[in-house]
């Protein structure tokens, strides 16, 4: 049964190979939008959704179009265009049909086009040779891992914000150093998936 495999892929992408904390993908939104809990969750959920949609679109296109016509080298261009179009499309659809959701998630969508985690997950799925279902599971895992990292770090940041910090460390440097400790903590998950 493949179920076990799915669990392994999911756990490894959420915890062991966490995109933000272990692979440095999507650092900009991680540091930029993690100040408030509602923003962090909004961004995390939007990234998860876009990752799932992007994988659902890019995997079939790569496998059935690019590979068939031996255009694998066009991967980067095609993927980024698909992602950009998808994000734009989602924004328009949300705005038209679910304005409430657009209000809470819509603002994050344009920022996601240039998020390297989304392009990264689509390319990694192809490089790892996952089939369609495995790719979707892995994207879900990466998105959830991103959400987890954002929410965790948001808590730590609210704690840092009201502490007295030396002048030159204030702002970005202390945030990065705090992120490094969170990342160190995630080392505890090493070996959880055999």
């Amino acid at each position: 049964m493949d179920f076990q495999k799915f669990v392994i892929i999911l756990m490894s992408s959420v915890l062991v190979n966490n995109y933000v904390l272990r692979q440095f993908l999507g650092i900009c939104p991680f540091l930029g939008v993690s100040k408030k809990l509602n923003q962090a969750t909004g961004m995390g959920i939007s990234v998860t959704l876009v990752m799932l949609m992007a994988t659902a679109a890019t995997w079939p296109i790569y496998t059935y179009v690019l590979v068939r016509f031996e255009l694998e080298y066009m991967r980067t261009i095609v993927f980024i265009l698909i992602i950009a179009a998808l994000v734009q499309f989602t924004e328009i659809v949300l705005k038209k049909f679910i304005p409430a959701l657009h209000k809470s998630l819509g603002v994050y969508l344009p920022l996601i086009t240039t998020n390297c985690a989304v392009l990264g997950v689509t390319i990694n799925n192809i490089n790892d040779g996952y089939n369609f279902v495995e790719s979707m599971v892995s994207s879900l895992g990466c998105g959830l891992g991103f959400l987890l990292a954002m929410v965790l770090f948001c808590g730590i940041r609210s704690y840092i914000d009201d502490k007295v910090i030396p002048e030159s460390l204030r702002g970005l440097p202390v945030t990065l150093i705090a992120a490094s400790f969170v990342s160190l903590a995630f080392f505890g998950f090493n070996g959880i998936v055999g």
């Binding site: 440095f24 900009c28 980024i80 970005l172 440097p173």
Partner: protein
């Protein structure tokens, strides 16, 4: 826009507006590929090549590209050059290609390149844009090399593969891993802050200034965040 001499355009990317330590752009590749000096050099040069080419082309096309769709156009130009660099590396430097892995393709969404296209190449002449690309490219490579030197010497006890006495037997392997990268980056920014009395680094946190998506989302998150921060 105030007039800048060609020399200042070239050199500002190296020091005064260093993309990594001052403009704080391109964090992801900086952290990911600075584990070894060789990898950092490869990444820096690859990104510099893409940056120079895309700056020139975008500057040439700046009067043709309609304003509303400029970001997608920039992305296509950049992705094209990234693909060229990828194919070139795959053919001539296969070891480097394997070492950089997915991060090579991710040059496409590197904030430095899109950021410079948006901030500089879209508004300036071809010559100036090329100089800006060269300066920013050198600045990025040097910053990556600085980070990689610290991380490789402490983390693996080698410099570009050559063992360093004492440290080789006692490597601090966490420096090679993710936490070491973030810590070194944080400390280096703090050092730049300290040396310049906080005057140089204008961006205290990740804001919209220099965010490549600023053009698309000018009325979205950025304003909201600014309001909340203000």
């Amino acid at each position: 826009m105030k007039k800048q001499s060609n020399w200042s355009i070239l050199f500002k990317g190296i020091l005064l507006e260093n993309p990594v330590f001052v403009l704080i752009l391109g964090t992801c590749p900086t952290l990911a590929t600075s584990t070894s000096v060789i990898g950092a050099l490869g990444m820096g040069l690859a990104a510099a090549a893409v940056l120079i080419c895309s700056n020139v082309i975008i500057s040439l096309l700046r009067k043709v590209i309609p304003d509303e769709v400029r970001i997608p156009c920039y992305i296509v130009v950049i992705a094209g050059f990234v693909t060229l660099v990828e194919m070139f590396m795959h053919a001539f430097l296969p070891d480097m290609y394997d070492m950089l892995g997915v991060y090579l393709a991710l040059i496409t969404v590197n904030c430095i390149i899109l950021g410079r296209a948006e901030m500089f190449a879209g508004k300036n002449t071809v010559g100036k844009s090329a100089l800006d690309g060269i300066g920013m490219g050198i600045g990025f490579t040097l910053a990556l090399l600085a980070m990689a030197t610290i991380r490789e010497v402490l983390g693996s006890g080698t410099f570009a593969g050559i063992p360093v006495p004492f440290l080789y037997d006692n490597p601090i392997s966490v420096m090679k891993e993710a936490p070491g990268g973030m810590m070194v980056y944080g400390i280096l920014i703090a050092v730049v802050n300290k040396l310049t009395n906080g005057k140089l680094i204008k961006k205290k946190s990740f804001g919209c200034e220099g965010c490549p998506s600023a053009g698309i989302c000018s009325k979205g998150t950025c304003e909201n965040t600014a309001k909340e921060e203000g």
